[in-house]
């Protein structure tokens, strides 16, 4: 190293240190400005939520004054003809709850099975790439699930599951007694299940991994098998976390729009209330997506935003409940160390 370069180095060092340390007064002001800036952006989150509530409230004010909140929530008509306009959200609330319910009934047991496999059975060499594949499933946009459901899955489910169910159970149980078409509540529920499985299973896996090994060792030392260990020591310990993961999945299913729009059959009015497993139906979000650009009157637009308001209330309750339960066990977050 030559003399010159040392000289240069100290020069740079001095400049850097004078930039970093600076003089006291400027330092104080700089800190205050920075503090104000980050505080302001953090407060922006609060502002957004206020905006969300405000805009949904303003947008739906018209329909709630026209039908009344109770009237809107319990009404079944959806009539956009001028002069006879009447809007009710009940069929879509039922459609939403039913499709999400089917999704949970199928998705939760499967997710727990996957989490059990990843956390308790598989070696880390197998578990880590497998977790990646399952999380990849979560990264696929819902519109692509919808496209696949509409052009591929619909025919598979009709031929292999719905028609046999209809043929065997249909004559005896009214719940199965409708000729299946492939576009109905049942197929929507199943595709929703496929969509929420990665979410529930990856959080459940983390919850189960967070259970201390001493819990397992205690059960093993009593002679329990692997399944008994999970059933008696792991599941009860992580119960709130597992429940929270499932409710988080429910929140996703309730709010999901695009894939439901493509596969639920898009019924309107009283006929959208599913009376059988294979009925065409409609959810809150799918009706909004379907009619928003074609709304013919301000009242209809307001009714659609009113559906959004009902959906907002529904998902807020679900999500806050889930987060409170999960945060007892582990933090649900994309960052953080394993």
């Amino acid at each position: 190293m030559t003399r010159g370069s040392i000289h240069l180095n100290t020069d740079i060092k001095e400049r850097v240190s004078s930039f970093l340390v600076g003089d006291r007064k400027r330092k104080k002001i700089g800190d205050k400005v920075f503090h104000g800036l980050v505080l302001g952006t953090a407060a922006y989150t609060l502002f957004i939520l206020v905006i969300v509530v405000f805009s949904v409230g303003v947008g739906s004010a018209k329909i709630f004054s026209h039908e009344g909140f109770i009237g809107f929530v319990t009404g079944t008509n959806w009539n956009a003809v001028e002069g006879r306009e009447s809007y009710g959200a009940l069929p879509y609330i039922i459609g939403t709850l039913m499709s999400s319910g089917i999704a949970l009934l199928i998705g939760v047991p499967m997710s727990l099975g996957i989490a059990f496999f990843l956390a308790e059975m598989a070696s880390s060499r197998l578990s880590s790439p497998l977790s990646f594949v399952i999380e990849l499933l979560a990264a696929v946009p819902s519109i692509i699930y919808g496209l696949w459901a509409l052009f591929v899955f619909r025919f598979l489910i009709k031929d292999w599951i719905e028609t046999p169910l209809y043929n065997t159970l249909g004559p005896y149980i009214p719940f199965f007694n409708q000729a299946p078409f492939g576009l109905d509540v049942f197929s929507a529920g199943i595709v929703l299940a496929i969509m929420i499985i990665p979410i529930i299973s990856s959080i459940s896996r983390d919850v189960m991994k967070a259970v201390p090994d001493t819990q397992r060792e205690a059960a093993y030392s009593l002679g329990a098998t692997r399944w008994e260990t999970s059933r008696m020591a792991v599941f009860p310990y992580g119960k709130s976390g597992l429940l929270g993961a499932s409710i988080l999945g429910l929140g996703r299913a309730v709010g999901e729009t695009m894939l439901v729009t493509l596969i639920i059959g898009n019924a309107i009015g009283p006929s959208a209330i599913p009376t059988t497993l294979f009925s065409q139906s409609q959810t809150l979000s799918s009706l909004i997506a379907n009619e928003f650009n074609e709304a013919s009157s301000d009242l209809q637009l307001s009714a659609l935003i009113g559906l959004g308001a009902v959906l907002l209330i529904l998902t807020m309750i679900i999500n806050i409940g889930a987060r409170l339960m999960v945060s007892k066990m582990v933090k649900v977050s994309p960052g953080g160390r394993e």
Partner: protein, 324 residues
């Protein structure tokens, strides 16, 4: 497993309590049945894993098979031809997605990162002492809760927000409304990841900075943020991957069009929106184009997801693609 059962049997002989003895005898008696149950459950768990992977395989296979058939230079760059014909392409949709997502990132990334910095560096955790400290903790916890609530909001509701606040205000469907709506989805994700990553930065680094007399703002920006830049970057990419596939908020904000970008206050098209419109048309050629658009979209998202993986690799960053 068999070894363990035998062990417990031996122990039971020395057990003093009758109850324990009975318990172990019963468990020995049912040992084979219990082992079979264990096997059955294990097999069921494997079936669940396979059951989850089959749809992924099928989706990827169908998208690649059907999408590759229509992809060409013309398909990627041209505006769509007349409805029902198989001419033209999805150029405006690709361009629109890039513009809308880019603009949303310009709004969402700085806000998300700065709010994450606030939560990690300026808001103490735990129970505070004074009134002021308690107030700050309460404020920070409220922001964390609101971030969680925002993450869980259905995207269609966020679309309504974009519609009421911007589309109605400027009386036109616009790129800006779409970007604003998408930024609402991004901010809580980025803020959360930033907070979590910054919290992992060792405190000794900050202390070293303080000991040299460096101001807090510079320590945060040039030491803490620099140390955690990979983690923050994965958060930003994660959020971009998430919004690139969003469809519902775009229906009521950017509307969709068959023309190229005309200006920030005019409507544009986007890939997910295009897929939806194409899938809803009754023409075979439209469906084929839909698969093509799906292939382009899934490639974009897979590349983003893979890059997260590459950045995070070996750095102890745990990333959950898509499950926030």
């Amino acid at each position: 497993m068999g070894k363990k059962d035998k062990l417990s049997g031996e122990k039971s002989r020395n057990a003093s309590s009758d109850y324990r003895q009975i318990f172990h005898e019963v468990s020995l008696k049912h040992a084979s049945r219990r082992r079979i149950t264990d096997k059955i459950i294990s097999i069921l768990a494997i079936v669940c894993v396979i059951g989850a992977i089959i749809p992924l395989g099928s989706i990827l296979l169908e998208v690649i098979k059907n999408g590759a058939a229509v992809i060409s230079i013309q398909f990627l760059t041209q505006p769509p031809g007349s409805i029902g014909s198989d001419t033209g392409g999805i150029g405006p949709a690709i361009q629109g997605t890039l513009i809308t997502v880019g603009l949303a990132s310009l709004i969402g990334a700085p806000i998300g990162i700065l709010s994450g910095i606030y939560l990690s560096e300026f808001a103490p955790t735990g129970s505070g002492k004074g009134v002021k400290e308690r107030a700050i903790i309460f404020f920070a916890n409220t922001i964390r809760l609101f971030n969680d609530v925002l993450t869980g909001l259905p995207s269609i509701v966020i679309g309504i927000v974009g519609y009421v606040t911007i589309v109605l205000a400027i009386n036109s469907f616009s790129v800006f409304a779409g970007a604003f709506a998408l930024s609402i989805i991004m901010i809580p994700i980025i803020s959360r990841v930033t907070e979590e990553t910054l919290k992992l930065v060792p405190n000794s680094l900050r202390e070293a900075g303080y000991s040299l007399g460096i101001s807090k703002s510079k320590i945060t920006l040039f030491i803490v943020l620099k140390y955690a830049k990979d983690g923050v970057l994965t958060g930003v990419i994660l959020a971009i991957a998430r919004i690139a596939g969003e469809t519902a908020p775009l229906i009521m904000t950017i509307l969709g069009t068959s023309l190229f970008f005309t200006g920030l206050t005019g409507p544009v098209d986007a890939l997910p929106l295009k897929i939806w419109r194409l899938a809803s048309q009754p023409y075979e050629s439209a469906h084929a184009f839909g698969w093509g658009a799906a292939l382009v979209l899934i490639l974009i998202i897979l590349i983003l997801s893979a890059s997260i993986r590459i950045i995070a690799q070996g750095k102890g960053i745990r990333v959950r693609t898509g499950t926030i």
